[in-house]
Amino acid sequence: MAALPVVKGTLDVLVLRALQWAPMHGFEITSWLEQRSASALEVEDSAVYQALYRMEERKLIEAEWGVTENQRQARYYKITPQGRAHLKAQTAQWLRYADTVTAILTVAPKQG
């Protein structure tokens, strides 16, 4: 099955979800996304970085340089309280949206 393109606007939520439990650097995030989606999502890594900086500007996440287990310097991203609120709201909205779309698409049309 071919990889799915990411629906516009959902990448931010996915990245926030990645950061929900611990700060990560960019590579960890892309790896996490690939793992979780079992490579089913077609996401260019550059888009993830763009999303990260976009959300940093909107103060949904914060960035700070840190050191990896291998003693390499990496830029770590951390979700802010604002980011958490955003994630919660967007998640709820996304689920309702998906339910609605699913309902429409799966209920058999009424016969005339």
Partner: protein
């Protein structure tokens, strides 16, 4: 989290490097992950790059975003630091109230004085006149270059021609107004009153583009002879005083000069042209030929003109000169008047106070500068105390810029507090200034503390804060970098001492300039006070009124003399007389005459002199000295020979080295009416200052009012006792001759002289106050530095005394130091004053701007003050107890 450290602010290059690092890290991690999964390194890298997508595009996008994020964060951080700095500054300032209050008071006085003077400058010189497009308004004068008279009034006939032939002017108008001379009698409404009137021509109001506040302004047809011109417009002030601002007065008739005039309108409150003393505006057409002949040589009107939009002054002047030249060719009377002079109306109104105001503005600026230096010096002293605290902050990682910023925040908090208090000072100051300068200031009504003034005060406060804060702040931060924590910081203290010495020198120099300015003004005030006005103002009183020719077409000269005679019989009056223009209340008329042997040449104007009209006994009454001959006597009456007196200036100019008495001059040189009118000089009067105390007498001819009379009368009386006590009796004496006679005013000459001195006195008082303030602040500065020096070198002094140095030599060591600083400041200050006081020459009288006496006196005063200011701390040094000094610290 794995927080390493917080990076300081990143610039664009740092951001680029950060982004590159991050992206490189990602690619490398992915590559090694793929290698670990079994790919060849090259293939792994290629795949990592492919998975990443467009690296350059991402880099650009990320870079731009990150820069925005960075600067937003920087702003936020900066605000946070500012809040921190402010809180710290407030805490710091509260903890040393003596310093804080001294600084704020110094600054409040300095900023307040500046704001007060600036609000006067702003209202009088800077704000546009209260008319639409006031920049288009001009004052127009007729010019006679051959006579050297470039600012003459305008003939009504010439004005009509200018108006008719104009093309680049929206309108041109004229008016006759002369304080005390142009007036009308108001009767039938309470006590008879003399109103101050402005006689206006068509175009006056339309040029200014003002409208009436109530009713309307005269129509064109109401302003010409033969038209329905018995109309009057009231000034707002008169409307308020006389009619309680009742709108119902509009449309009614009032009696002026015995005739009914319809009140058609009231001017707006802020309209004060040509004077705020004007009561009524009346068509000039109501003035008949027997009052003022309507002929070209009678140049009596002031003219105002409004240029059409976009017209330059040069173009306006060119057109008026063309018209004037045409009239000069057309009319022989205008032959010499082929030019005009244009002045922007605002400059014309404010011209004579400009110099004085700018001098004051300069002086207060110096006061503020001295104040700044003082506060800077206080801050330096404090910086010494705070060295340790600042060093701790530096050690904790505060950069130099950060420390400077924090100290500057403190200075600016101080200066803003000073500025806020200064506005209150300015408020009081403006009130006092306006009261002190009553009647001396054109546009006084436009002076108040408005947004512009507040903005000025704010800008001044900020600039002040930076000015006095910068040197100490930079100094303190440098000290911090030198690591004061380790050692006591001798070198730093030395640096602060040097900085403070420089400040003291600057302060002395500034004070010198200020005090020299004050000294020059004081000297010129004394010079004015010493002027012999040519009469004795004490025990002299004037009753001013005008005889109505409408009510008294004939026989008014008998009436005039009856009034003088009556005044002479009043008990307490030693002598009485009358004149048209009392000293400082009018400058006579300017008229032509022919000296002996004078022959009129075509195209050349005859000489002119001031004509004054006086009664017999006038000179004796005012205490003038008759240098030769005699004054008029009651027996010199009309019908006899034409007799005149002249003043000494006239006699010296026209009869040098010979007796003027007995000579004859021609009062009507043939050019005008074809027949000469010889008049014999019977006496020479010592010069009388007529226009003002600081204006020398002009060549003057005195006419006998009984022969050649004028209806404007200043009845003067010399009294045995207090002159003001005679006011009521004199008024009653006038009314006992004619109970309908309106009286304009009664005033003593002590008051008149005092009023004429008001401007130089005001300048002297203000500059003197500023000078004293500067001197005190300067002395405090010297004292402060030396006191600090003494306390700092306590131990060294102790050693010296212990080693046998006499107290006297210690004393002189410090006094000498103070005097050395003063001498340096003095040298710079005197040099500066030499350059700057030249700008004052416009307001000085009888003293050069480079007056050596003033400069020498200021130098000695400053040295004396400095010696005293140094001596006090030096004496303390001389009395240091060596045992105490060595034990302490």
């Amino acid at each position: 989290m794995r927080r390493l450290f917080k990076f300081p602010w990143r610039n664009a290059r740092d951001i680029r490097a950060d982004v590159d690092d991050e992206l490189r890290f990602h690619i490398e991690e992915r590559t090694s992950a793929l290698v670990a999964a079994g790919l060849a390194p090259d293939a792994a890298r290629t795949q990592a790059l492919r998975e990443f997508g467009d690296v350059d595009d991402a880099r650009r996008y990320i870079n731009a975003l990150d820069r925005g994020t960075e600067s937003a964060a920087r702003r936020k951080d900066y605000l946070g630091e500012l809040r921190q700095d402010l809180a710290y500054a407030f805490r710091k300032l509260r903890s040393s109230p003596a310093f804080t209050i001294t600084a704020i008071v110094t600054l409040a006085l300095g900023i307040g004085a500046n704001a007060a003077i600036f609000s006067v400058v702003n209202g009088v010189l800077l704000r546009p006149l209260p008319y639409p497009h006031a920049e288009q308004l001009l004052k127009v004068y007729q010019a006679n270059r051959s006579a050297g008279n470039l600012h003459a009034s305008v003939s009504p006939l010439d004005l009509d021609d200018w108006r008719a032939q104009r093309t680049v002017f929206a309108d041109i108008g004229g008016f006759w107004y002369s304080d005390g001379a142009s007036g009308v009698d108001l009767t039938g409404d309470g006590d008879p009153q003399r109103l101050s009137a402005v006689f206006i021509t068509p175009g006056f109001f339309t040029t200014l583009q003002v409208g009436a506040a109530e009713g309307r302004l005269p129509r064109e047809d109401e302003l010409v002879r033969g038209g329905p011109d018995k109309v009057v417009v009231l000034s707002n002030g008169f409307w308020q005083r006389q009619y309680g601002s009742s709108p119902s007065i509009v449309g009614t008739h009032i009696t002026l000069e015995g005739a009914p005039y319809q009140v058609i309108g009231v001017m707006p409150r802020n309209f004060a042209y040509p004077s705020d003393r004007a009561d009524v505006y009346i068509p000039y057409s109501t003035i008949t030929d027997d009052m003022i002949p309507r002929i070209r040589p009678v140049r009596i009107l002031d003219a105002v003109a409004r240029m059409k939009p976009g017209v330059t002054m040069a173009a306006a002047g060119a057109e008026l000169n063309t018209i004037a030249a045409r009239l000069a060719r057309q009319y022989p009377e205008d032959a010499a008047w082929g030019e005009t002079t244009l002045v922007p109306l605002r400059d014309d109104i404010t011209g004579n106070v400009r110099a004085a105001l700018l001098v004051l503005l300069g002086a207060v600026a110096f006061v503020l500068l001295i104040g700044c230096v003082n506060v800077a010096s206080l801050l330096l002293a404090r910086a010494g105390v705070r060295e340790r605290e600042i060093a701790v902050r530096a050690a904790l990682g505060a950069g130099r810029g950060r420390i400077v910023r924090q100290l500057l925040t403190e200075s600016i908090v101080l200066s803003l507090a000073g500025g806020a208090a200064g506005v209150a000072v300015a408020r009081a100051g403006v009130g006092a200034l306006l009261a002190l300068s009553a009647g001396q200031l054109p546009r006084g009504a436009d002076v108040h503390i408005d947004g512009t003034v507040l903005l000025f005060a704010l800008a001044l406060s900020l600039a002040t804060g930076l000015l006095f804060g910068l040197v100490p702040a930079v100094h303190a931060s440098r000290a911090a970098l030198h690591g004061t924590l380790r050692e006591a910081g001798r070198g730093v203290a030395g640096g602060a001492r040097r900085a403070r010495s420089v400040l003291v020198i600057a302060e002395v120099a500034l004070a010198v300039v200020l005090v020299v300015g004050a000294g020059l003004m004081g000297r010129s005030f004394i010079a004015i006070m010493k002027v012999d006005p040519g009469f004795r103002p004490d025990h002299l009183i004037a009753v001013n009124f005008t005889i109505s020719t409408t009510r008294r077409p004939t026989g008014w000269q008998q009436y005039y003399h009856a009034v003088i005679d009556k005044a002479r019989t009043v008990p307490g009056v030693i002598s009485a007389g009358a004149t048209k223009d009392a000293p400082f209340r009018g400058n006579g008329e300017r008229d032509i005459f022919g000296p002996p042997g004078y022959v009129v040449k075509a195209g050349e104007d005859p000489p002119t002199a001031r004509m004054m009209h006086v009664s017999d006994g006038y000179f004796q009454t005012i205490g003038a000295r008759i240098a030769a001959g005699r004054e008029f006597s009651p027996t010199d009456r009309a019908g006899g020979p034409h007799l005149i007196l002249v003043n000494e200036s006239f006699a010296k100019h026209w009869f040098p080295g010979e007796a003027a008495v007995g000579k004859s001059i021609d009062m009507a040189p043939a050019a005008i009416n074809g027949k000469s009118e010889p008049a014999q000089i019977i006496g020479v009067v010592a010069d009388i200052r007529q226009a003002a105390m600081d204006e020398p007498a002009r060549e003057t001819i005195y006419e006998n009012n009984m022969v050649n009379g004028r209806v404007k009368v200043a009845l003067v009386a010399r009294t045995a006792g207090e002159p003001l006590a005679m006011a009521r009796k004199l008024r009653e004496a006038v009314w006992s001759v004619d109970k309908e006679q309106p009286i304009t005013s009664i005033e003593t000459f002590d008051d008149v002289v005092s009023e004429s001195m008001a401007r130089p006195r005001l300048l002297t008082v203000l500059l003197g106050a500023f000078g004293v303030l500067g001197l005190i602040l300067g002395a405090l500065g010297i004292y402060g530095v030396l006191a600090y020096l003494v306390s700092e070198r306590q131990r060294e002094i102790g050693v010296r005394i212990a080693l046998g140095a006499p107290a006297r030599s210690v004393l002189w060591m410090f006094v000498g130091r103070g005097l050395a600083l003063t001498a340096a400041g003095l040298a710079i200050g005197l040099g500066g004053a030499l350059m700057l006081t030249r700008l004052m020459s416009g307001v000085l009288y009888g003293v050069q701007a480079t007056d050596p006496l003033t400069f020498a006196a200021v130098g000695s005063i400053l040295l004396a003050v400095a010696a005293l200011a140094s001596w006090i701390p030096a004496r303390r040094a001389a009395h240091v107890d060596p045992v105490e000094a060595l034990r302490s610290d």
